[in-house]
Amino acid sequence: MSETWKAFKPYALITPQTLVFLLFLVFPIVMIGVVSFWEFNGYSMTPAFTLANYQGIFTDVTLKTYLNTFKFLGLVWVATLLIGYPVAYFLAFHVPKLEWQILLFLVCTIPFWTSNIIRMISWVPLLGREGLVNQILMGIGLTQQPLEFLLYSDFAVVLGMVHLYIIFMIAPIFNSLMRIERSLITAAEDLGASGVQIFKEVILPLSAPGIAIGSIFIVTLVMGEFVTVRLMGGGQSASVGKLIQTQIGSLQYPLAAANAIVLLAVTMLIIVSILRVLDIRKEL
């Protein structure tokens, strides 16, 4: 075997995958950048260099949309962390056998592999005006009228997103909890640490990288979200993703592109700040 082939081999092997990414990821995003400076005259776009598309973002309506997106992100992040951490903790520390841990983790994972659309539709018979939750609440006399905020509201959007994306928080946390040396916990116990102390001083710091990776997934999933906002928000809820989708629908590509670039920049900024606080390199 010649030395030149050996040095060349990895490049030959990565070529197909790299081509796919260049063609369908890098080039499209570069084109979004280019088109975001083009002119739009109401029905078609022409190559130019204008900042008008970006200026359009700094209007009250659009800024409000951005704020609303941050609100969704904050709520979904807190909810997925507060629900996801105990679930991962239970699986990692309270389920005795490895087979059972894997099986129960699989139970949590299966819904993620099925259709997001169906998973959202399935909330309708539960939360609608005549849905099961309202029927029960009125049946036991807790409310006189059906609660309107359950469906087609910001509440429903957050609920839908938590339901769809929580596995992205659980999986990395579960992974980092499973890697914690059990002898560390025994050592802490032997030295007289209480359960709360062990959690605060040993387990939480060691699972921080998992939290960071989970948070990064939540950020990227929620920031560009438009399907849940559309299906569960019922027209009133706004998000940047939905704004971009509406602009594309009316063929305003340059405006959509400018919004997408700002969205990408904001998302990257949040990710970089997460990485500043928490080091994930050990996890990779």
């Binding site: 081999k9 990895p10 490049y11 030959a12 092997l13 990565i14 070529t15 197909p16 995958q17 790299t18 796919v20 990414f21 063609l23 369908f24 990821l25 890098v26 080039f27 499209p28 995003i29 084109m31 979004i32 088109v35 629900i83 105990p86 679930v87 239970f90 699986l91 309270h94 949590c108 299966i110 819904p111 592999w113 099925t114 259709s115 997001n116 659309i117 169906i118 998973r119 539709i121 399935s122 909330w123 309708v124 018979p125 539960l126 609608g128 849905g131 099961l132 029927q135 339901h163 359960g195 990064i216 990227t220 560009g224 399907v227 989708q245 594309i248 590509y253 997408a260 998302t267 990710i271």
Partner: protein, 271 residues
């Protein structure tokens, strides 16, 4: 000791509630899709039959599902074939250090974490500027690959991390060429994992919505067709379709899991 027992039961209860939250909505539409012919979109259930499940296969007023289903199957199979080939090759490339590997690695990660609407918009813009029509088998295929390929690649990296290179060295010492070593040694050893990754890739593609939504062209894939239905269908047929397609993806995942564990067990038994 008693204190630990209490925290165990609290967390167990929390976990059960979580599983209920995860599966509850799905179970309600399963139940509602089993109603009689005069069934409605909400409880209580009106009758019990397979009427609506059968309706899915009939010609619908709002469109039919067979064609989008076939499209999704074809697309899923194509995505699976390309993803497996490219990710196996690339992850084998990564077993050796080479210049630029970090850049390639981060590009893969980027494909996973870029908000998916950017992928959809970007591919749409490229096709628009080039004057090409968007289609599920061209732009749609590309959009799917940006999602399945990084996931498959990361799983394959993990598999090759645990792969013992001494098998290949032995083959090479006995005079086997690189391709021969791959076909006769490496491939049979990673085959069960490939089966698992393949089925995962297929389901990911089969259920993909966001990245495809703006670039599928005139003919919808199944998830897009279902999305279109949500606004204008008022019968349990929608739930029936949801039930059937969910059972389909869930069984693929279970088959992948059990086939994988069975093959691994058999191989361990041999060794």
């Amino acid at each position: 000791m008693q204190k630990r027992a209490l925290s165990f039961y609290l967390l167990l209860a929390f976990f059960c509630l979580f599983v209920l939250f995860l599966y509850g909505p799905m179970i309600t539409i399963f139940m509602l899709s089993l109603q009689g012919p005069d069934g409605a979109l909400t409880f209580p259930m009106r009758g019990l039959s397979f009427y609506w499940l059968g309706q899915v296969f009939q010609e619908q007023r709002v469109g039919n599902f067979i064609e989008p289903f076939v499209r999704s199957l074809l697309l899923g199979a194509t995505v699976m074939a390309i993803t497996i080939t490219a990710s196996v090759l690339a992850s084998m490339g990564f077993r050796q250090r080479f210049k630029g590997s970090t850049v390639i690695f981060y590009m893969t990660i980027a494909s996973l974490i870029v908000p998916s609407i950017l992928v959809s918009l970007g591919i749409g813009v490229v096709f628009q500027v080039m004057g090409w029509p968007t289609n599920w088998f061209s732009s749609g295929l590309g959009a799917h690959l940006t999602w399945t390929l990084p996931i498959a690649f990361l799983i394959m990296l993990g598999i090759f991390n645990r792969f013992d290179p001494s098998y290949e060295e032995a083959a090479r010492d006995l005079g086997a060429t690189d391709p021969k070593t791959f076909w006769e040694i490496v491939l049979p050893l990673i085959a069960p994992s490939l089966l698992g990754v393949g089925l995962l890739t297929f389901t990911l593609s089969y259920d993909e919505f966001t990245r495809t939504s703006l670039v599928s062209g005139q003919n919808n894939t199944l998830p897009l067709e279902i999305f279109g239905m949500t606004t204008n269908v008022t019968s349990p047929a929608l739930y029936a379709l949801g039930t059937l397609t969910t059972i389909f993806s869930a069984s693929l995942i279970l088959i992948a899991y059990f086939a994988y564990t069975a093959v691994v067990k058999r191989q361990r038994g041999k060794a």
